[in-house]
Amino acid sequence: MSLDPVQHYLSEYAGKANAANWLAQQQEQAIGLLRSKGFPTRRMEDWKYTDVQPLLKQSFRFLGKPTASADVDKTLGQIQDLDCYRLIFVNGRFVSGNLPAGTGVSVHSLQQALSANNPLLPSHLNRYTAPGKNPFSDLNTAFMQDGCVMILADKVILDKPLNLVYLSGHQDAPVASCPRNLLLLGKQAQAIVIETYAGADQLDYFTNSVTEICLEQGASLEHYKLQQEGSLACHIGNLQVEQKRDSRLVSHSISLGGKLVRNDIEVRLTEPGAHTVLNGLYMAANSQHVDNHTRIDHLCPHTSSNQTYRGVLSGRARGVFNGKVIVHKDAQKTSAHQSNANLLLSNDAEIDTKPELQIFADDVKCSHGATVGQLDENMLYYLRTRAIPEDLARSLLTFAFAGDVISRIALEPVRRLLQQRVLGQLPDADTIREFIG
């Protein structure tokens, strides 16, 4: 238990079966970087508010082969009434799914794609994450076992949403998994992808996911990340996106579960006309720690971004938000807007927010706003005058606060699921359900 965390993962790595040649090289490089750089500490600016020591103290194991899924309730990640393709992963390994097929559509698990020697993999896998920048991404690269590879040819529109479900938890030992997804959308291709993370509530486990996305000219992706990990789980997620000309990304990142959660989203807008929308909601109670980091690089003229993140913190929870917008030199006519609103519901809760703008061009319109506050006394009073008990009024207003992000979700079954999830965290949920019908 007192083993040095880097040493622990090095020995785990040594016991691992080797993969294809080009991949082995990348993994060797990644583990080398981890060996030399180690894990982040709070002295690093990007990890100032998030201490990963509790995560590193535990010796999580990587499972050599797929486990029986008996430890995990498979219904956890389900989204009712959603007609979709689905890939289910248990402890990082693909177990079952109904996969889309058709001309120009290639959706496989990572292992399938590797054994089929998909020619696009060597040139795209690990290309959108910068090795050495984030130790957890390197950890993922070194240990990537499985995940989803989606490659859409030009002008292909995926007819149904693709739901990637990651379930974790193992009775015998704290287990780690490193899901790795690669989503490549050709010119004018369109897709909706939903990543769901869930797991056994009373088990220690660690999910360390990386998703790489490349949107070619005119491609459009709606990406959802629904993080509903178990209450003891550690979750570190990294979303790396590169957007070409006139492409469009809409990302919804919803964090509800987990004990220690860190989400990184990094978007690079590399060609004119690229547009990105990042929405996020984090709700934390008890002693949860939720950290959201976003970074948008505007690398060329005429790109735009819009971010809306909201947080609700109660109990002894701690929320962290850091939104970076970097407008690079000559990226004129950039429009970048960001807002982060936080609701502090308890005196023991804490929020540390840091919206950040770095601008190296002049013809730009950029703004950000951050607020920390409570429920509006006037609104509470109004509801009280309508004979609504105070607790219920508070729940209603909290629900409405979170609703600002949820209502941006276009996919109705997901929106309904999240409404229910959010309600589930509030007192008087049943009465509110009656209210909103």
Partner: protein, 482 residues
């Protein structure tokens, strides 16, 4: 947008107007920093033993620190051994009793800067404690202040005459070990200003100090300590200009403000040190630690700053809101042109109940200037009903400049209300067009728009400073938008 780049360059390339070196013999220590140097400084200033020990402790701590690298600035490494840590104008030895005894060349310098001491006495009703290099040489209106019970003197005098007050408050707001530059300052500070406003007193006039850096290769390490006792009120003005030279000069000042129950301190700065030439050569490195401590209930500290000079500005005037109902304010305009870099902002630390803070920061970047706002608003667990409003706007002129914001918000109390907003854009084409349409020249239109942009801050400045600031702004930005 720029149709006449040549004319524009001419205007932007305008030379620093206050650049000249007064030739006076200085009593200067050779460059270098060691315990011996500190002992010498202390001995020359005839300081008590406790202060020497305090300095040495700070120095020993400084040796263990590393120069901070987190600020958004770039500069070649500073050789702290190449700096001379003490420089006193000769005249000090004879101890001028009145202005007549002051070195006429020195007075001439002030004249060139437009600060005629004699006139100022009569005109503005402002007492000037002029710091030439490191030793105070002229103090006016002392008597009037003395009658009110206000102590306003140079730091060395305060150490001599009011040792107990200095001992009680020195380092109580900015501890010597606070950061790299405050430790350095604590070890080697030479002089500065000391203000004490007694209980229930409203200071009868605005207090002001003009800082100048003169002798070549001299770092200036000012120490300012202002104590406002219960129920008192003081407005302090600080303004600076500096002569032109090529070597980079280091300036690491420390300003400490203490506001006791119901006291108010208003601290205003116009900073116009030599920013370096159009190629980014030379200029002052301005690494300042300023902090106010709202120690008593209902106390109030307000910082207003207009930063147009210095090659590098690294400055975060902060407020510790400890007393219940205390108020902290920060109003700032920072302008960077040529290759200037500014990393400035504030910290508002809410500890007491019902504390309020307001931050208004306006950054203007032109040429190759880099302007960063870095701020922290921290609401402690005990700070019930704390309230903060932050607004930081940036204006960009020219496609080579940069504007950055790094606001930190840390809230640990459920009754906290914190708002932060920031915008960045260039001067609106439509606004310019509107002015041009009405026959206003482009230059005037830009000045008008910029002054409008800064108005929220300028109106916080005392009258005479507001006028100066507006002029300074126009000069600094002349021609930056073509």
């Amino acid at each position: 947008m720029s149709e006449q780049p040549n004319e524009l360059e001419q205007l932007v390339g305008k030379e620093y107007q206050h650049g000249f070196v007064t030739d006076i013999d200085s009593d200067t220590l050779p460059p270098g920093l060691s315990e011996d140097v500190i002992r010498q400084i202390s001995a020359r200033k005839q300081e008590p033993e406790w202060l020497l020990q305090w300095r040495l402790k700070a120095y020993r701590h400084w040796l263990t620190l590393r120069e901070p690298e987190w600020a958004f600035v770039n500069h070649p490494p500073i050789d702290y051994q190449a700096v001379s840590y003490y420089s006193a104008p000769r005249s000090k030895k004879d101890g001028p009793k009145s202005l007549d005894e002051v070195d006429p060349k020195l007075l001439e310098t002030y004249k060139k800067l437009g600060i005629p001491l004699h006139e100022q006495k009569m005109l503005a009703g402002v007492a000037v404690d002029a710091v030439f290099d490191s030793v105070s040489v002229a103090t006016t209106f002392k008597k009037k202040l003395y009658e009110a019970g206000v102590i306003f003197c140079s730091f060395s005098e305060a150490v001599r005459d009011h040792e107990e007050l200095v001992k009680q408050y020195l380092g109580s707001v900015v501890p010597a070990a606070d950061n790299y530059f405050s430790a350095l300052n604590s070890a080697v500070f030479t002089d500065g200003s000391f203000v004490y406003i007694p209980k229930g007193t409203r200071c009868p006039m605005e207090l002001s100090t003009y800082f100048r850096i003169n002798a070549k290769n001299t770092g200036q390490f000012e120490r300012t300590l202002i104590i406002a006792d219960a129920g008192s009120h003081v407005s302090y003005l600080e303004g600076c200009t500096a002569p032109m030279r090529d070597e980079n000069q280091l300036h690491a000042a420390v300003v400490e403000l203490v506001a006791l129950d119901n006291a108010t301190i208003k601290y205003s700065t116009v900073q116009n040190w030599y920013p370096g030439d159009a190629n980014g050569v030379g200029g002052i490195y301005n690494f300042v630690t300023k902090r106010g401590d709202c120690r008593g209930v209902n106390s109030r500290i307000s910082w207003t700053q207009v930063e147009t000079g210095s090659a590098i500005t690294w400055k975060y005037p902060s407020c510790l809101l400890r007393g219940d109902n205390s108020v902290g304010e920060f109003y700032s305009v920072a302008v960077t042109g040529n290759y200037q870099q500014a990393d400035t902002g504030t910290k508002m630390i809410h500890i007491g109940k019902n504390t309020r803070s307001t931050i208004i920061s306006k950054g203007i970047s032109a040429g190759h200037g880099q302007n960063a706002y870095r701020g922290l608003v921290k609401i402690g667990k005990t700070a019930d009903n704390a309230r903060n409003y932050t607004q930081c706007d940036s204006l960009l002129m020219g496609d080579q400049c940069g504007a950055h914001t790094f606001p930190y918000v840390e809230a640990r109390n459920a009754s906290a209300k914190v708002e932060h907003e920031a915008t960045t854009s260039k001067i609106g084409e439509d606004q310019l067009f509107y002015c041009r349409q009405r026959g206003i020249s482009k230059e005037d239109a830009v000045n008008m728009i910029v002054n409008g942009f800064c108005k929220q801050v300028f109106k916080e400045l005392p009258m005479e400073f507001a006028v100066e600031a507006q002029k300074l702004m126009n000069i600094t930005l002349e021609g930056t938008v073509g």
